[in-house]
Symmetry: C2
Subunit: 324 residues, 2 copies
DNA sequence: TCGTAAAGTGCTCAGATGAGCAAGGAAAGT
DNA sequence: ACTTTCCTTGCTCATCTGAGCACTTTACGA
């Protein structure tokens, strides 16, 4: 592995390449090749080994999207995910909206491909989820359920509602929106709204969900719209409880445990428990600052598919390696 | 093989790529992979097969020269060569001198790499051989023997002699030149010159040769300097005898049989027999019009290593397939 | 010249693998 | 509905392959 060999002569390279061509491209057995070249099968095996070690033969992947197959697999197995999609780092420096767009496009393709007529699809409020819906053009006819209230503010107003209805329009299925804010001033208001006809109906759909697309937020400035919308006092109180990540306004500590804080009582959103019951949860989380949050949420075992970028994936893997 | 499969979904692609990554890059066994993914080993094997068939995984070769490994191997085995070096087709249209330069560079590297102190190296007269010597900068100390007289005319005068002495200078070994024309007016003159001290000495070296670098000419206008130097009458007479190729002024028919014509008696060159005795003959032949000649010479069994370009190689392979 | 280290080579045997087959299941035609 | 066909899946058994070892050759310094 670490043993650097000299780069191999021209003649040997050609022989090695010919052998590699027969083995990898034409799929011949080493025994056949050995006979054809008048070598022992052991020599053929060693030539193939050194050919790979020296980089004479390289295996390239032509994925239908710019993904890093190595990271996909490592992340998948490190956290026991069903699947991980890791975007390759872009050639040039990429702005956050550009990255978000690529993440969203990936999620769109995944959802369009895996969704069936029998699915009930939930969407959490998030810019990336919204970007995803903008990029889906076909979807089987199935209900689309909003998983949490609308986080107003920022540069987009009631886009969450729009997100659900947009996707329902593409799908042709029914839309279950939540026409109410995500974070409310107090518990009473929250419970009142929770029992409103339309909202109650949507909440009732939560137990039917078969798929959910959610975004992972980190419990720090600019890395979670929920965090950003709270008062400094409440943010810090929650931080002190050990919150590291947020999904649909539900909090997780560094070990992926559901964290129940005061916040839980004044947000309109699917509960930890209900979300955990969803068979397929697709989580979007990207950029390095979110690595710790991604690690936390994946540890919860709630996520089946993660979509992220190579930088965040590497950081998360490092965290996964630290504490298995 | 011919069964075109649909391009595989995103999800499947990622799984296939992950499996391929583990198998090809990390070198895990299919059984291990099957366990890790919860699949049968058969399924893993099939996934790998389709991944290759659909082009999802591609094997790339980083040869130290722009060679086509597939063609190298096909040509090598089609004609039972020791080795074949096939230059990839250049990206842009390439002029003949450019191609010649690349062929020469390849021959130079091959010779520099394989020649040892014990070799006796023969060079035939040819532009490509000359270009080769211009690009060699190191060579073990060994004798350099000129294989045939000088074909004057064209754009280069006595370059053959220069070729031999240039290479001898690089090598530090002795030079055995032939200071006489390749084609002579009659048999008597030829035999007289043949017995001249310096020339006889060079001819005496022919039986000691261990390596020879020769160029393949096609028996047609502009594809052989010997052809071009003869009178129309003699050219045609030789054509009628079935000559297809020429190496050091020695002729071959389409089946690679040595052809003995009147020409044989008035050229100063190594004989068919002596050339056949050389353990390692490196033949340079390039451009499509020479494909038939290359095929003919390779059929003679005289050549151990061929250096050519992708276009000529493909044409030659087609000819080889026609008559095994 | 020799001795020693280092690299290269082929062997054994247990374990991995491929070819071909047969069973099951889905899709399409009647 | 029923049959037919096609596709997928996992099995068996004969073959292929890798890990480790022992032997040979080469390289190099004493």
């Amino acid at each position: 592995m670490s043993a650097r060999r000299r780069p191999l002569g021209l003649s040997d390279s050609v022989q090695a390449a010919s052998i590699a061509h027969r083995f990898y491209v034409r799929g011949e057995s080493k025994l056949e090749i050995a006979e054809a070249f008048g070598l022992s099968r052991f020599k053929v095996a060693r030539i193939l080994d050194t050919a790979r070690e020296t980089g004479l033969v390289r295996v390239e992947f032509d994925l239908p999207a710019p993904l890093d197959p190595g990271l996909c697999d490592e992340l998948r197995s490190a956290y026991g995910l069903e699947q991980a999609l890791v975007l390759e780092r872009a050639k040039h420096r990429e702005t956050r909206p550009e990255l978000r767009r690529r993440i969203g496009a990936l999620a769109a393709r995944l959802l369009a491909e895996t969704a069936t007529r029998d699915d009930v699809i939930g969407l959490s409020w998030a810019r990336s989820v919204n970007v995803m819906t903008e990029q889906i053009d076909t979807l089987p006819r199935c209900p689309i359920v909003q998983l949490c209230g609308v986080q107003a503010g920022m540069d987009m107003r009631d886009r969450s509602v729009e997100t659900v209805s947009r996707l329902a329009r593409v799908s042709g299925g029914e839309a279950y929106p939540i026409f109410a804010p995500l974070v409310l001033p107090d518990r009473r208001t929250t419970e009142t709204l929770r029992r409103q006809p339309g909202i109650a109906e949507t909440f009732g759909q939560f137990r039917n969900l078969t798929k959910a697309v959610v975004s992972i937020g980190a419990w720090q400035e600019n890395e979670s719209t929920v965090y950003d919308s709270l008062s400094p006092a409440e943010r810090d109180a929650i931080s002190k409880r050990g919150a590291k990540a947020e999904v649909a306004a539900r909090l997780f500590d560094a070990d992926g445990n559901a964290l129940s804080t005061g916040l839980a009582h004044h947000v309109l959103a699917i509960s930890h428990e209900e979300l955990r019951q969803v068979p397929e949860v697709i989580a979007l989380g990207y950029t390095r600052p979110k690595a710790e949050a991604i690690d936390a949420v994946l540890r919860s075992g709630m996520v089946s598919t993660l979509i992220t970028d190579a930088d965040a994936a590497r950081d998360a893997l490092a965290l996964a390696a630290k504490r298995p």
